[in-house]
């Protein structure tokens, strides 16, 4: 976890976007009902290595995460095991209600191939310019590391900052002359 810690230390302005997720609208297609999305996303569940998000009919997963306010996405962490952790991950910003049939209809905002380091917790930095004004994020996990039938994700964490909030600590009192 030291890699993750140093990563968050470097990007000090970035916060864990867990608090801004609109849980009522979170959806995941092709998840196994015994291993649903909250296992990977929710605080506490995602730290537990025994609880994974697993895919059902085949190895792809389509995760839709709306936010309660507009955010900028800086980086994300996807953790999984060596063989059945995700490999190719495509991110779509502000696309509502996608299905597996239209993932190829428009280009993703970003495409990432996860390495073993990433799966151990090293954050992936995204193309920041593409994620300046994000209301909802769709994560499409296309395949897994060894091409197995089922993809297992242990943890998904998103890091970024919000757009509207002002950093109160940055405000300094103007000194009177």
């Amino acid at each position: 976890m030291s890699a993750a810690e140093s990563a968050t230390a470097i990007h000090r302005n970035q916060v864990d976007l867990l608090d801004f997720i609109d849980w009522s609208g979170v959806e995941c297609l092709n998840q196994s009902s015994s291993h649903p999305l909250p296992n990977a996303l929710k605080q506490g569940y995602r730290e537990d290595e025994g609880l994974n998000l697993e895919s059902d009919a085949d190895e792809q997963l389509l995760i839709y995460i709306p936010f309660t306010q507009v955010i900028k996405l800086h980086s994300f962490v996807v953790m999984g095991s060596e063989e059945d952790g995700p490999k190719t991950v495509k991110l779509f910003a502000n696309r509502e209600h996608m299905g597996f049939s239209n993932v190829s209809d428009f280009p993703p905002s970003d495409t990432v191939v996860l390495s073993q380091d990433n799966l151990k917790g090293k954050p992936v930095i995204v193309k920041y310019v593409k994620f300046q004004n994000v209301r909802s994020l769709t994560i499409f996990i296309e395949d897994n590391q060894s091409g197995l039938e089922i993809t297992k994700v242990q943890k998904i964490a998103l890091y970024g900052s919000t757009v509207e909030t002002t950093d109160m600590k940055g405000l300094k009192k103007i000194e009177d002359h």
């Binding site: 009902s33 059902d56 009919a57 085949d58 509502e96 597996f100 049939s101």
Partner: protein
Amino acid sequence: MVLEATMICIDNSEWMRNGDYGPSRFQAQADAVNLICGAKTQSNPENTVGVLTMAGKGVRVLVTPTSDLGKILACMHGLEIGGEMNLAAGIQVAQLALKHRQNKKQQQRIIVFAGSPVKHEKKTLEMIGKKLKKNSVTLDIVNFGEDDEGKTEKLEALLAAVNNNDTSHIVHIPAGPNALSDVLLSTPIFTGDGEGGSGFAASAAAAAAGGISGFEFGVDPNLDPELALALRVSMEEERARQEAAAKKAAEESSKQEKGGEEQDATMTERASEGASEADNKKNEFLQALAMSMDEPASSQDLQDTEMSDAAAEDPELALALQLSVQDSAKDSSSQADMSKLLADQSFVSSILASLPGVDPNNPSVKEVLASMQSQSEPRQKQDEDKAPKEEDKK
């Protein structure tokens, strides 16, 4: 009250001209469709239903998912029968129609009426099923009409591929006197996984059955919940009281029964032969009672079926009841509770009272009941006398 968008796939192929489901298969389907639309709309006003046909020139969407019942009924009018059903294309078009539903919050469901032979391979259907599951679309299959080789197997495979936690169902409806829609009413397709549509389905079932209510006490819990509840509670209280009383009686009766074992077998046979006339409700009741008590004893089964021609006259009824009670009590101690119950006079009298045409105040009934209370041997002598008399009466 699941919020749902449903696409109904109708089979309008040549096979639907057949009249084995009255008036014709196609008409039966149309009625079923109307019922389903009504049920879905009633269980949640925001539900939408759409209809498409699978045969004819090609798959054609008649109406996209809408909550307007009038539109759906109108589109069913004037449909033509012809061609061959294309199940795979039908399901895929239905999936597409659902994908473009207006309210994305609705769950997606497809209901397929498969009345003609399925020409697709099992593999194809399984792949389609997998795709449906991946996109979280649930599927209900109504298998009726033609039943050629492999059709049921293919449809079951399709269901297995789609099914996620029992949200998808298949029902097989054979041709028969009952209308297709009536049979459907009792299936999970209507009862909607135990929630929502059951109210509509229940009341429709009551209407369709022509007044014979399937409910426990002849009262629709939806129409009069308080009365139904009161009836149920009082019945349970009565049962509890009976059981307590029965246990006391059982101690006495078990002593008596041990004495008269050998004679019981012949007595029961004669009694059941003698008891030949009755109305059907009593038959069924007796049969059910006897069968539930006589499960371990195979020899009893023959007597049970004979007892289906059970007594019109009260003494014979009580007689047969009582004798079968004795027999089964001897056969299995585990059945003792039930026999004790029956040996209990008050319970028997309450049963008799509930049977139509039986008046507990009838002197002959009273006589028999009184005789049940006395010792077994003198009782059996009485039975012996009665049984030949009954045979004479015939």
